[in-house]
């Protein structure tokens, strides 16, 4: 069964880490090698991506960042291949694409999947719902399944390797009423830290940091972690909005979550409750985050975090 994977990439052609995860996942669930979809004019990575039988490169007439453009491109490849399963990274941009495919092609869509299986040709996805408090298994009953997979759900394929065969396509232009125009788009510079959504370790700061993320940065350096924040911290302008972890921000499911000065409001818990191990440091013993913490410290984060960082460095020699 052919599984298509949308290969998300930066404007310079650098693959997003999630692309490797999706390729690995697709290879595991199907007995056929997965096929990639590359939208737009950015150069394909020279040494890969490996593990793909083919890459479908689609030339598009409009801005390749628009959901409508990506939808038209994927439609062209779906028409050409007849594939019945399409995997996308579960980002907000891709959710718009999936929704459009749902309407345009009658696809069944599962968002935020953390597991995937093909059972007798039927797609079955796992996902946690209700702020991470319930786990479900969902079956797609439409001929086309579009599954948005949460990054970090799967180990990444090694993307270095022989370049696959490239098949060229041109997207048919959907008849447009009004079209969206990109007035300005500024890609964020790399932070030198892992992607928040897919990082194995995440250190999150909340109100208790009072705007000083220094001890969190230090611990994140030691742990190789991404830095996140609560809505209070982003609303205060202490850190950029894209760092917000929660129901309306980034959903994280890291192996290790460290919350410092985070109270654990339900909003925030909805974006992190699926973490493997939850560590919380907060001076308020009644903070709700202690209800879900595997290791909780009632104490001053400005004492506890630097001490933990120093001890970890010492233990590692």
């Amino acid at each position: 069964m052919t599984v298509l994977v949308l290969l998300d990439h930066a404007d310079d052609g650098t693959l997003r880490p999630s692309a490797g995860e999706l390729v690995a996942l697709a290879a595991r669930v199907s007995d056929e090698a997965p096929e990639g979809v590359w939208v737009g004019a950015a150069p394909l990575p020279g040494s890969g991506p490996a593990g793909l039988a083919r890459v479908h490169r689609v030339a598009v007439a409009h801005d390749e960042h628009l959901a409508q453009t990506v939808t038209d491109a994927l439609s062209a490849v779906l028409d050409a291949t007849g594939a019945a399963v399409l995997l996308l990274d579960s980002t907000f941009e891709n959710k718009d694409v999936a929704a459009r495919l749902g309407v345009a092609r009658g696809a069944g869509v599962v968002t935020d999947a953390d597991a995937l299986a093909l059972v007798d040709g039927t797609v079955v996805a796992g996902k946690t719902v209700l702020a991470g408090t319930w786990t479900t298994r969902v079956e797609v009953v439409a001929p086309l399944a579009v599954v948005l997979v949460k990054s970090g759900s799967s180990d990444a394929a090694d993307l270095a390797g022989e370049a696959p065969q490239v098949v060229e396509h041109t997207a048919a232009e959907a008849p447009g009423a009004g079209r969206v125009e990109v007035v300005e788009r500024v890609e964020r510079a790399a932070t030198g830290r892992p992607d928040l959504a897919s990082a194995a370790v995440v250190v999150v700061g909340g109100r208790g940091t009072d705007g000083d993320f220094g001890p969190l940065e230090e611990l994140a350096d030691v742990l190789g972690a991404a830095i996140g924040a609560t809505r209070v911290a982003t609303d205060e302008g202490w850190i950029a909005r894209e760092a917000q972890v929660g129901q309306t921000g980034v959903t994280v499911a890291p192996r290790l979550y460290v919350g410092a000065g985070v109270s654990g409001a339900v909003h925030h818990r909805g974006g992190m409750q699926s973490a493997g191990t939850i560590v919380a440091v907060n001076s308020d013993p009644d903070a709700p985050i202690f209800e879900i913490a595997d290791f909780g410290v009632v104490g001053d984060l400005f004492q506890v975090l630097p001490q933990a960082s120093a001890e970890l460095r010492r233990l590692r020699g």
Binding site: Q68, E93, K95, D96, V97, A98, A99, R100, G102, V103, G108, V109, V110, T111, D112, T128, V129, L130, G132, T133, W134, T135, T136, R137, V138, E139, V140, V141, G176, A177, G178, R179, E181, V182, V183, E187, R188, D195, L196, V201, V222, Q247, T248, V266, G270, V279, F290, A293, D294, G296, V297, V298, G299, D300, Q303, V304, A308, E311, L312, L315
Partner: protein, 271 residues
């Protein structure tokens, strides 16, 4: 010639959801229990209503129609929008729509928007929240736009109307964008778009006199087999509460909690 009064007509879609502070459960069929009695207007939809009202105020004399779909209780979401300042409300109420997935929901809402437009003045703008806290799929805004063949500007953290064009700013994981589209269009807003107003006493009193129109699927010309649980393209096979975390540790810092934390991480092979 286009009718020009009111200047702009905005439909804002709102959803009644179980309170996220309350205990939420799934039923045996995998559907959300919506009968807990502690439902509320979906939080980000307050920002959607606020955005619609602000745009209407800026346009001078625009009309705002709140649209909701769901069982009897769902009208509370529309009422809240009326209390905040929306002019009228539509409630799509039909047993056959229960259990719709996001795409079925968008299909019904699209039919309702078309019906609102058919009843009089064209709809210039559809506004929604970026997600509902129950299903949290974020699929409905783009699906609704696709159903209506409207350009979609999603996840807006700022939104403005300029004549017959709408412009938004949005902050994504990897980029910040400014997008623009001609009207009619759909905009979904994030919770950073604005601070939603709280209904005042006068607003609450005025809302009692505002009209709430109830439509069934038949009123909208929607084939019941295409929506509801039967029309859903995904089916929940199994649902279970996540097991509680066990083996938990809580320490109060007496000077060495950082060292204890480091030891815990090393012992659990987390570093």
């Amino acid at each position: 010639m286009k009718v020009t009064l009111p200047a702009v007509r905005i439909v804002v879609a709102v959803k009644h959801v179980p309170d996220i502070q309350a205990e939420r459960t799934l039923r045996d069929d995998g559907r959300l229990a919506r009968d807990g009695g502690d439902g509320t207007l979906n939080e980000v939809d307050e920002n959607a209503v606020e955005a619609a009202l602000q745009l209407a105020e800026a346009a001078g004399g625009a009309e705002v129609v709140a649209l909701t779909m769901g069982p009897d209780d769902a009208v509370d979401a529309a009422r809240r929008a009326l209390q905040m300042g929306a002019d009228s409300a539509v409630h799509v109420l039909d047993e056959a729509a229960a259990g719709s997935d996001a795409l079925g929901t968008a299909h019904v809402l699209a039919a309702a928007v078309r019906r609102v437009a058919a009843d009089g003045v064209p709809v210039d703008l559809v506004v929604t929240g970026m997600a509902a806290t129950d299903g949290l799929t974020s699929l409905v805004p783009a699906a609704l736009a696709a159903e209506l063949a409207l350009p979609a500007l999603t996840l807006a953290s700022q939104v403005s109307l300029d004549g017959d064009r709408v412009t938004v700013r949005r902050e994504l994981d990897h980029a910040v964008e400014t997008l623009r589209a001609p009207l009619p269009a759909l905009v979904s807003v994030s919770d950073s778009a604005n601070e939603a107003r709280y209904p005042n006493f006068a607003g609450i009193m005025a809302a009692r006199k505002k009209p709430v129109t109830v439509w069934s699927l038949a009123d909208l010309g929607v084939d019941p087999s295409e929506v509801g649980a039967g029309g859903a393209r995904t089916r929940v096979l199994a649902a279970a509460p996540r097991p509680a975390r066990t083996d938990r540790v809580l320490v109060t810092d007496t000077g060495d909690a950082g060292v204890q934390l480091a030891a815990y991480l090393v012992e659990r092979k987390l570093v």
